[in-house]
Amino acid sequence: MAAEVGGDSGAPKKGKKKGKARKPRKRPRIDMTPMVDLGFLLLTFFVLTTTMSTPNTMPVVVPPKITEKDEVEPPKIAEGKVITLLVGRGKVYHYTGVEKPELHQTDFSSQGGIRRVLLQRRQEVAARYGNPDEMIVIIKMLDEAQYKDFVDILDEMNIIQQRKYALVDITKEEVGMVEDYKKQMKSS
């Protein structure tokens, strides 16, 4: 770069300064500071707005409705493979088996929450049937639940890569079981 032409600063070179600058070369300098200020303001604005709006979608597949006239029995599955989750507000009640099922309570915490329970159950199923993917999770939502709980439980399925799960309507007996469990907890 030719130093003479460029003139990188308004001040002349320190070393050889020839002649008092009676008439300093007047290069019009535009003060760019306000422009830069505005530029960065806009930049910040756009950076923030773009990162804020990144909605993602979670696919959900629900089993088809079985109407009376279809005369189709819901598929039968071995109870050893199943775990049933009753999802309440921030809480998950779970049980296995059909004969006098025993309800346990847990939550969505990443340590020792529902994830641990499901992974444990997967190991049990693997020990018995040889493949943890044989496990089937039945999800039933309690009326007290919020949408967040619904997303959380589906998310949990995605996290542990549980492919076989079904969203099923809750039965009266199960609601009763949860009520009993809560009463029991309160009294003890």
């Binding site: 830069v36 909605p55 629900v62 949408y147 997303v151 969203l167």
Partner: protein, 203 residues
């Protein structure tokens, strides 16, 4: 010292490259940013590890507010007009040119069919006030959401169903929405969530 001071060296930093870069970035962000149409309901989305971005078009969005009110929206003007035609046909309402235009630009609607004409006649702030308490009925006797979906899919069969619900929305309302979808043999749909990092150790 004073000798040198007299020179009063004027330090000027050349800001040109910085400005160039800044404006380059601005241009980039301005072009990539997508302003979303203001939605009728404010929704706090729950987070999940799902990372599939929302498809850009052919969206049928069912919004559920935190207090369980249901709104309906489609992304294309064409489909909205198609829906309005169907409403006219089915319920025998008539809409003026302006009402049709207004309807075609509203991103979301949350009023029952009976109130639609009155709603479209209102001013914007009055409509906003109504949006704060309105909802599309989904009772089993009067399931208008089902009609909305039916009309929309009539205009565009490729529509993808998306549920955008507040994380505090009561589950029974969500269950009603899912039930409504099932009744129309829609068993595959998407939930809109915000991204959350996948937990590390899972095995």
């Amino acid at each position: 010292m004073s000798k040198f001071k007299a020179k009063k060296q004027n330090i000027a930093i050349d800001m040109t490259p910085m400005v160039d870069l800044a404006f380059l970035l601005i241009t980039f962000f301005m072009l990539t940013v997508k302003f979303r149409a203001p939605e009728a309901v404010e929704v706090d989305l729950p987070s999940s590890i799902a990372d599939t971005p929302l498809p850009a078009q052919d969206i049928l969005m069912i919004s559920v507010s935190g207090d369980g009110r249901i709104f309906f929206g489609v992304d294309s003007k064409h489909v909205r007009l198609g829906i309005l035609e169907k409403i006219k046909e089915r319920y025998g309402y008539s809409f003026s040119e302006e009402e049709m235009h207004l309807f075609s630009i509203l991103p979301e609607i949350g009023v029952p069919f009976e109130q639609l004409k009155g709603y479209l006649a209102l001013r914007e702030d009055e409509r906003k006030a109504i949006d704060k308490r309105a909802s599309i009925p989904v009772d089993s006797t009067n399931n208008q959401l089902k009609q909305w979906i039916l009309f929309a899919r009539y205009s565009n069969p490729k529509l993808r169903i998306v549920i955008r619900a507040d994380e505090r929305a009561p589950y029974p309302v969500i269950a009603r929405v899912i039930e409504t979808l099932k009744e129309q043999k829609i068993h595959r749909f998407n939930l809109i969530t915000t991204f959350e990092a996948r937990p590390q150790k899972v095995s």
